[in-house]
Symmetry: C2
Subunit: 239 residues, 2 copies
């Protein structure tokens, strides 16, 4: 039979490699949550004993690091053809989407401690976009920190919400309102009743509002500090 370059073929052949392990680990974390990702369970998923995984992965931490870098690889890089604000907004939305597809990646300490090549490239491109738009080094650092803090934090809050579908949201909000001592928390009760319980509410819709707040603020910075403008083309990169 011709070779099918698929997971099943390789797995059934008893041939394992790092990429295969990584893919199965991400799929398992996506489908069953990061707490289901144990070496034994992952081995089972691949038709192999847990101990075999150590031939392709140094240890679990190495596996988690590689998973996070694979996630960063899914984020759209800012495009040189877009103006900086559009480019950064697009990649920020893509970042959020990616984290919401792989919620376990939010808050895994490894991106800060041991960034992989995809993570480094992503960071480099974002900083480069800001620099070429005229942000000084310090302002680019500030902007980068502010944007990514917001995106990470939003993804984390979204992940930790007790509801994810419209129905769950409504049910949860009703339950909360019923249990909540309304006199103790009048503003929380008001917000739950008249915002969260409104038809069509979805927490994810809050994302662009905060994002545009930051982007508009950054644009204001840039306009107020034209003297910091970075000589265009001093540092260029190929697409």
């Amino acid at each position: 039979m011709a070779r099918l370059s698929t997971k099943t073929e390789a797995a059934s052949r008893g041939r394992l490699n790092r990429e295969l392990v990584l893919g199965a680990a991400i799929a398992l974390a996506d489908d069953s949550g990061i707490e289901s990702l144990t070496m034994r369970r992952l081995g089972e998923e691949l038709g192999v004993e847990a101990m075999s995984l150590y031939n392709h992965v140094a240890n679990k931490e190495d596996l988690l690091n590689a998973m996070v870098d694979a996630v960063f690889n899914e984020i759209e890089l800012p495009l040189h053809s877009d103006d900086w604000k559009t480019a950064i907004r697009k990649r920020s939305v893509s970042f959020r989407d990616t984290l919401s597809r792989h919620p376990w990646a939010t808050g895994l300490k490894d991106s800060g401690t041991n960034p992989g090549p995809a993570t480094l490239r992503h960071h480099d491109r974002v900083i480069g976009t800001l620099r070429n738009a005229g942000f000084s080094i310090a302002m680019a650092a500030h902007a980068f920190s502010a944007l990514d803090s917001y995106i990470y934090g939003f993804a984390m809050q979204e992940k930790n919400l007790p509801f994810h579908t419209q129905e769950e949201t409504a049910a949860m909000a009703h339950a909360m309102l019923a249990q909540l001592p309304v006199n103790d928390y009048p503003y929380l009760a008001e917000l739950t009743a008249e915002h969260v319980l409104q038809p069509g509410y979805s927490y994810g819709d809050e994302f662009p509002l905060g994002l545009d707040l930051l982007l508009d603020g950054l644009e204001g910075w840039l306009e107020r500090h034209p003297g910091d403008r970075h000589p265009q083309g001093m540092l260029t990169e190929s697409a």
Copy 2:
């Protein structure tokens, strides 16, 4: 005399209660990291077998929930005597400080899933401050989401940094620069060399910049939507 650890204190008392368990758990997580917080280790710290803890705590999740709520209790509530911007800025800085004292609390899913009374009161006060400043319900929800996303995300990034002291930062940045393929990541290299490695650099200093970006943007919202002004004093609360 040397300070008495909670261990000896609790052991000599021989009487355990929920508050004692909670305090020891928080101290252990602060000092040794959340991964060191196991029921067995916590029991040891309190001079008791792990199984005894279940007399005061339903299970580990219950313990973690209670720990998070205790952390929220440390955050300064917004003051009625301050204007909204000052009040929100102060509580935001206090929030960040608190999370940086208890980094393990960042990203513990429990605040969203099972908020305790301190968490609820904190949220209620923040929303109330915004409402009384003239934010509509929807705008208060947006503002709350944007601010807390930023604060959570900042705390998480700070927690996940591979360095915490000035010396560590410099050493780490030097090591990164040495290892980094500079041609692949020119902007990252530039930012590391000319920003992170500058004397006096501390990542924590980035916090107020992003915070003021958000607060100024929210103020702009408010000025542009005076029609949404909430009747003052309609909902009041006692301090």
